[in-house]
């Protein structure tokens, strides 16, 4: 099996158009790409290049206008809303720029939340919460709400929440965008470590070329919704 077919993520002629009044916005316009299992890929591009739209399509939160997305052997275009929810529960974990923790829940409750949707048995949940928290290096302030935690702690908690259902693919949308550079580096070190130790495929959206160069195995450049360039980053993969 060649590397293309062994891909964890593959898109073919992927298109996502939006109607805005009379005009059509081509947010993603015929993107075909492949990310191998266990690879750390960075999606780079200026604002409005289609990075986040592509991320939402990969996460199954948005529907493609045409083309196909295959993740871990599942063609997302053929899945109904319930199957897409299942896919988000078990196949992907998401980390956002603004952390997106539920503000009314404590750290532990936030990490536990995906397991409620996945109907994980109650007695198993505590162990899995502890496991996810230790993976991201969080041990204190477990009963604190997000507003009582630092940005770094919140992003670690979000990462723990993304890991708790043991996904095969981690999608990180500007994970360091709201963090200072030191904390941002810590978070990316952590993501890279998880990528290597858990052999989890990571696709990260960023507009910071330096970070992509430092951590990603592969750099994918988008511009005006199109795939502009794709390069293998040996330096990132060597870290």
């Amino acid at each position: 099996m060649d590397s293309f077919n062994a891909g964890a993520v593959r898109t073919e002629s992927l298109v996502r158009h939006y109607h805005l009044g009379q005009s059509i916005i081509r947010a993603v316009d015929g993107v075909s790409l492949s990310v191998k299992k266990g690879e750390f890929a960075a999606l780079l591009g200026a604002s409005g290049s289609g990075k986040s739209t592509l991320m939402n399509l990969l996460a199954g939160l948005d529907h493609a206008t045409s083309g196909s997305i295959t993740v871990e052997g599942q063609n997302l275009a053929t899945l109904d809303p319930n199957q897409l929810a299942q896919y988000r529960r078990h196949t992907v974990g998401m980390v956002f720029q603004s952390f997106n923790l539920v503000p009314t829940m404590t750290l532990t409750e936030n990490v536990e939340l995906p397991m409620r949707f996945a109907e994980v048995e109650r007695r198993e949940r505590d162990a899995r919460v502890q496991e996810a928290l230790s993976q991201v290096g969080l041990s204190g302030r477990l009963e604190h709400r997000p507003s009582e935690m630092s940005g770094g702690e919140q992003q670690r908690a979000a990462l723990a929440r993304a890991l708790v259902n043991r996904p095969k693919l981690l999608l990180a949308d500007e994970p360091t965008g709201n963090l200072d550079s030191k904390t941002g580096t810590e978070i990316l070190d952590l993501i890279r470590k998880l990528n290597q130790t858990l052999e989890m495929t990571v696709i990260m959206v960023t507009h910071e070329r330096a970070l992509a160069d430092r951590y990603a195995d592969r750099l994918i450049f988008l511009g005006d919704g199109k795939l502009i360039n794709e390069t293998v980053n040996v330096a990132g993969g060597a870290r």
Partner: protein, 459 residues
Amino acid sequence: MKAYDLVELAGRNLREAKLRNSLTTLGIGVGVASLVAMLSLGVGLQRLATRQLGSSGLFDSIVVTSRQDFRGERRPQPEAKDAKPLDDGSRKSFTQIPNVVEVNPDIRVLGEYRFAAPGKAEESHFAMTAALPASASRSDVFEDFQGRFFSGANVPEAIIVYDFGRALLDLPDSQQRDEKLTPEQANQVLGREITFRYAERQPAGSPANAQPQEQTNFSVVHKEQKLKIVGIVSTEPYGAMRGNRGRVFIPMGLAESLNMIQPSDLRQVMQPGQGKTYIALIVRVAKSSQVLAVEDAIKKEGFTTFSILDASSNIARFFKILDFFLGIFGSLALAVASLGIINTLIMAVLERRREIGIMKAIGASNGDVKSIFFYEAGVMGLFGGSLGVALGWTIGRIINLGANYYMQRQQLRPENFWYVPWWLVGAAIGFSIVVSLLAGLYPAARAAKLDPVQALRHE
């Protein structure tokens, strides 16, 4: 998502907006309270009416007579000799009919009573005497009377009506027949002894010179029985269907043992050779709705029956209609409260758009999101319903207390107009939950339809 997770999430979400959700729940509570107060009044009035009709003995009794005695001109005329006699055999057969509670003879004789009022010489009084079974103590007549009921079925005790008490004390007749004796007057009668003189039927041998067809097998003997007056009532208990109402009552067992001569015994003079028969038997059934079936069974045995048509079904129908309208009025407040639920949940959906987006991004299905809002509506319905039942119960109690206070001021007997049965408690809470869920349909559907990408962009 598992039910306990849904309940937990619903509970924690409701706690996040305590004031708003408490006010909405209070609104549901007020709605349910008005429903419960209205329906409990309807149920209470129905119960009161049914109990009073039941205790009148009108609708659960069948008077059975022999066709030998009552044959109308236009009815088929069975030969008197073919008609079945109303004797101990038929009495026993009636007791075996399903739903029959008891069968008693209608013993009713004119007796002479000798009584000496305090400070006066003994005087003679004539009064219709009737026998009462122990079950007569449940008659509404005994809800408000002087003295007590018989201490046993065979004791030599008597209960009299007020106007006979007045006659014994040589007092002038009252304008109102059921006017009570004063406590002093009652004390001059209660516990006192009265002598009852009656004619006893005694078995007798045949006179030697009598022809067989002229023979009777009993003789009539003059007898006396001392009785102790134990109670004074307004009228004959269960006497509504009796033409000749009694003024003095003695226990059924005692009456049967006295073997008093009855009008039916005269038939034996005319038709010698027949054993002891009854003029009428009173058959009591468990429920008024069973009267017709029992009556049919007795008719099939060849007897004439009489009962007052079952009024309870008509009463139940009337109260069902009344309850329906009371329920509609009561539900209006709940309908208004349901608008409060819709408003609260739509507000929650708008406020929690981003949270809904997050939940969908981490694996919540549309159904999960819908269920969370549904459970929130249901929990508000449950708490609102429980609060409403408690509130409705309190309102009913206050209304009842107020009404009884007014009745007491008007010298009327207090009654329980209001009643909250367990089924109403369950139904009110259930109805509250159902109404809340219906009110939650639209907000829940709206939450479920939210586009997660849009929702995640919401600040």
